[in-house]
């Protein structure tokens, strides 16, 4: 595909769960190289939107087009091959694996060795392939500054580090499109600053298009190119951060909703 068409197009997507309408006719697109944020109050349908893009949910109506290709009905596991990586709102690591193995799972669709060649390992090139990928994964580990913990069992790590490992695992996939569901939720200021820096670098230097859900408005305004605002499953605004923040509908949607309380509320609806 040419660089002209947007990387992600969401056309008239609607999603219902037995009567509950999580998304209604949402349309937007994300251009190549953009850092795009989705914001909105709790239950607005942000995670549902991300799930429609990553394939976890199939929209009831509408289409999702990635790189000019209609992926609406494609299985999530097949979408990894298109270069879509994501993180989850609630931690979703492989808790009993080491950090390194967690991240190596991200290489799954890039590796060619299989049950037969992997078992034979030495004689059929599997070792060479594994080590080559290991080297690249170490670069990601280096970049995200998790070198000292790479042999740790993922489930034993503190929250902030787990979030970072999840990002590393998504990055290992070599995604063109990186979907992040509240990457900074529950972090302290310092951790948030680190995370914002990583995301910015991944976007600016590693060339990844990023779609990020985030509640922290300061971060969103700071690093996003464009913002989409959802409320009750509908798109109420889209555009550059400052313009969106000044929008009357957006102010109304957030009126009385304190961003801090927002985050503390249990995210029961997630996933």
């Amino acid at each position: 595909m040419t660089g002209e068409s947007p990387l992600l197009e969401v056309r008239e997507v609607s999603l219902s769960f037995r009567g509950v309408r999580a998304l209604s006719h949402v349309t937007f697109h994300v251009g190549r190289g953009e850092l795009f944020s989705i914001i909105g109050p709790n239950g607005a349908g942000k995670t549902s939107m991300l799930n429609c893009i990553s394939g976890r949910y199939t929209p009831t109506e509408g289409r999702v087009v990635i790189d000019g290709r209609d992926v609406t009905a494609m299985k999530p596991s097949a979408r990894a091959g298109l270069g879509i990586g994501r993180t989850f709102q609630n931690l979703a690591l492989f808790n009993h694996m080491t950090v390194l193995d967690n991240i190596m799972v991200g290489r799954h669709h890039l590796l060619r060795n299989n049950v037969a060649t992997g078992s034979l390992y030495w004689f059929v090139g599997a070792q060479r392939e594994e080590l080559a990928h290991r080297r690249q994964v170490e670069e990601i580990i280096d970049f995200l500054e998790i070198t000292p913990i790479r042999k740790a069992i993922a489930g034993t790590l503190p929250y902030g580090l787990r979030k970072r490992v999840e990002l590393a695992r998504a990055v290992a996939l070599k995604p063109h499109l990186l979907l992040l569901d509240e990457p900074m939720a529950g972090m302290n200021l310092e951790e948030k600053e680190d995370m914002a820096r990583y995301i910015n670098d991944l976007n600016a230097e590693w060339g990844m298009t990023v779609v990020m859900i985030e509640h922290d408005m300061a971060v969103v305004v700071d690093i996003s190119d464009r913002v989409l605002v959802l409320d009750f499953g509908r798109k109420i605004a889209e555009g550059e951060p400052d313009a969106v923040m000044a929008d009357a509908d957006v102010k109304k949607a957030y009126l009385g909703v304190d961003a801090e309380d927002d985050r503390a509320a249990p995210a029961a609806a997630a996933q």
């Binding site: 990894a80 990586g85 694996m97 190596m104 799972v105 290991r134 080297r135």
Partner: protein, 362 residues
């Protein structure tokens, strides 16, 4: 965080050295010494035997059972699925190898791996429901497969010899006929080492990681590009392959395969081996098998020792112990689930961790 940091004394200078099967040079040396001792085990010099016939029999048993147990551990421990029908695959491998040799004249040397491939095919078919169902439902589905295969063994005279069972030829390599347990021991040992190496390699490469990912968090595994249906079914295939090898080795050891040998009880025993040894541990599969094979033996020794003492005159005690022998396996499984849920492998790791840096362990 303590365990997050690499211990002192554990330095790796290349990624290659960092991805070896054995975590340290010492554990590698330990395994090599173990294999060397086993190679010496069947030797007889003059009238002197390193190990008695009785012990050789036990070790052979441990060998072929441990291969099958490892297969079950791939399914249950590493992939997080369940099977109550493992012994049927073990049996299928046994019959298939005998059948291939008896009917088509395939040399035993080739009929063993070939039988395992047939068993893999059966395992993949039985595993198809696993692509859709989990937990209790899967347990019931595999239980059904156990009974269906047992029924098949009883009816398929052409394949199994029906109620009279089937004879299996002794092992031969390129015209050289293996004779006696002491020689067959080496066949089992070679298979044991190879199968354990294959499993260890699998678990440090792409598809092995995918299996564990499916176990730990299937939703994110899927987003990482792991096709859940494929790996859930594949796991049954792999587990059956190991069961098939184990069963075929069993067949050519006893040289007779009976239809009754592969019942649900044996399936439960296989589960016991992986639970006691440690779910998701390769060496645990071997440790658990050793435990399960030696437990009834240890009980018999206890009975015999008791018989020789004054207590042996009290029939209720001797009979009670003989009965306990039957119940001991069940009891052991329950006790391990309660007190040592991570299995022998975990305990073993702790002992190793202690000795690794002795006397500077911290």
């Amino acid at each position: 965080m303590a365990q997050a940091l690499t211990r002192c004394g554990d330095f790796k200078t290349s990624y290659r050295a960092d991805t070896t099967i054995f975590p340290s040079a010492r554990s590698r040396a330990f395994a090599l010494v173990g294999v060397a001792l086993l190679i010496a085990a069947p030797l007889q010099i003059g009238g002197f035997s390193v190990l008695s016939d009785y012990w050789i029999t036990l070790l052979i048993q441990i060998g072929y059972l441990a291969i099958a147990a490892l297969g079950l551990n791939v399914l249950v421990g590493f992939t997080g699925q369940i099977s109550l029908g493992h012994s049927a695959f073990f049996g299928f491998g046994a019959f298939a190898s005998a059948y291939l040799n008896n009917t088509y004249g395939v040399p035993v040397f080739f009929s063993i791996p070939l039988a395992a491939l047939w068993t893999t095919a059966v395992g993949l078919i039985v595993g198809i429901p696993a692509g859709r169902i989990k937990g209790l439902y899967l347990a019931i589905a595999t239980l059904a497969s156990q009974f269906i295969l047992q029924d098949f063994f009883a009816r398929a005279d052409w394949f199994t010899g029906g109620s009279s069972g089937s004879l299996a030829a002794p092992f031969a390599v390129f015209g050289y006929q293996i004779s006696g347990d002491r020689q067959y021991f080496y066949v089992v040992l070679a298979y044991l080492v190879v199968m354990y190496l294959l499993a260890a390699n699998l678990m440090r490469s792409r598809d092995g990681r995918a299996l564990v990912a499916v176990r730990d968090h299937y939703l994110s595994a899927e987003v990482m590009g792991v096709n859940l249906t494929k790996y859930r079914v594949l796991s049954f295939g792999i587990s059956s392959f190991f069961a098939g090898i184990g069963g075929a080795l069993y067949a050519h050891y006893l040289q007779y395969v009976s239809v009754e040998a592969f019942d649900i009880l044996l399936s439960i025993q296989f589960l016991g081996m992986v639970i006691i040894g440690g779910l998701g541990s390769i060496m645990g599969s071997l440790l658990g098998t050793i435990f399960m094979v030696l437990l009834p033996e240890a009980m018999s020794w206890a009975v015999n020792i008791l018989r020789a003492t004054d207590w042996g005159n009290v029939p209720s005690i001797v009979n009670g112990l003989a009965f306990l022998k039957q119940a001991a396996i069940g009891l052991a499984i329950v006790l391990f689930l309660i007190f040592e849920p991570d299995g022998l492998a975990h305990r073993w790791r702790q002992i190793k961790a202690y000795w690794k840096l002795y006397p500077f362990s911290y």
